[in-house]
Amino acid sequence: MDRLIKTAVGLIIGPILVFALYVINYGHILPGEGFDGGALIAAVLVLCIIVYGKQEVRKRLNLSIVLTISAISGLLLILVGLIGLVSKGKVLFYNFIPQGNIHNLFSSGIVMICNIILGILVGASLYLLFGYLVIYRRDKE
């Protein structure tokens, strides 16, 4: 790609990632939750692959490591639900963190933790979808 495009994209990746994290973190007050933020993270990573080439991105984010990250975050989500099972309420996904006032960041207990884990899971999975399509090579038969 052109040097102009590489410089411009390199300057804009940072603000888009910060916006994605803002959407995930404030998901219980403002519109957009884990799904939207995860799609934004994946969009940034796909943009990096398109502009900089697959060798550069694979040096920094190896595909098997991202696969392990997505599986571990899936297990973490189930673990958060199971902690609710053994605490006071005895049901899955019980809200065991005390809930504050209505407009603070740390209100509504378990929703914020689930949003963050869901954002990592969705972002990693959609990046893997694009990454495996890109590194595919024809069988030479």
């Binding site: 519109p31 799904f35 939207d36 799609a39 407009h103 969705v122 979808l129 595919y136 024809r138």
Partner: protein, 115 residues
């Protein structure tokens, strides 16, 4: 006014269905599936509208009797769109391997199994 908007979403769904059925190339079938999916998402968002209502976000200094637009379809739509994205990724991967085995995207020529 609302009849016009609902008819746009039905038109998108029918356009997607036409693309799936009539077009020859496999890639155009996949694009038709995406168009039909967007039509259904638009239909869900149109259901949730009430006339003269506010967006469903609680801000400060709000009187207790403001009416809100129904927030449930807005929360369901990202989930449905990401499921559609995963299905489309699977279809594209299958289409790439099909091109490698058969040499064409034409669905009339990909017909080795009979009956």
């Amino acid at each position: 006014m609302s009849i016009f908007l609902y008819s746009i979403s039905i038109l998108l769904m029918l356009l997607g269905l036409y693309c799936i059925i009539v077009k020859e190339s496999l890639i155009k079938t996949i694009i038709g599936i995406k168009i039909m999916s967007y039509g259904i998402c638009l239909f869900f968002i149109l259901i949730s509208y009430k006339i003269g209502a506010h967006a469903p976000i609680i801000t400060e200094n709000m009187s207790p009797e403001t009416s809100f637009v129904d927030p449930i379809p807005h929360a369901l739509m990202p989930a449905i769109m990401i499921i559609g994205l995963a299905a489309m990724g699977l279809m594209l991967a299958t289409a790439i391997k099909l091109y490698e085995k058969y040499g064409t995207f034409d669905i009339d020529k990909i017909r080795q199994l009979r009956g």
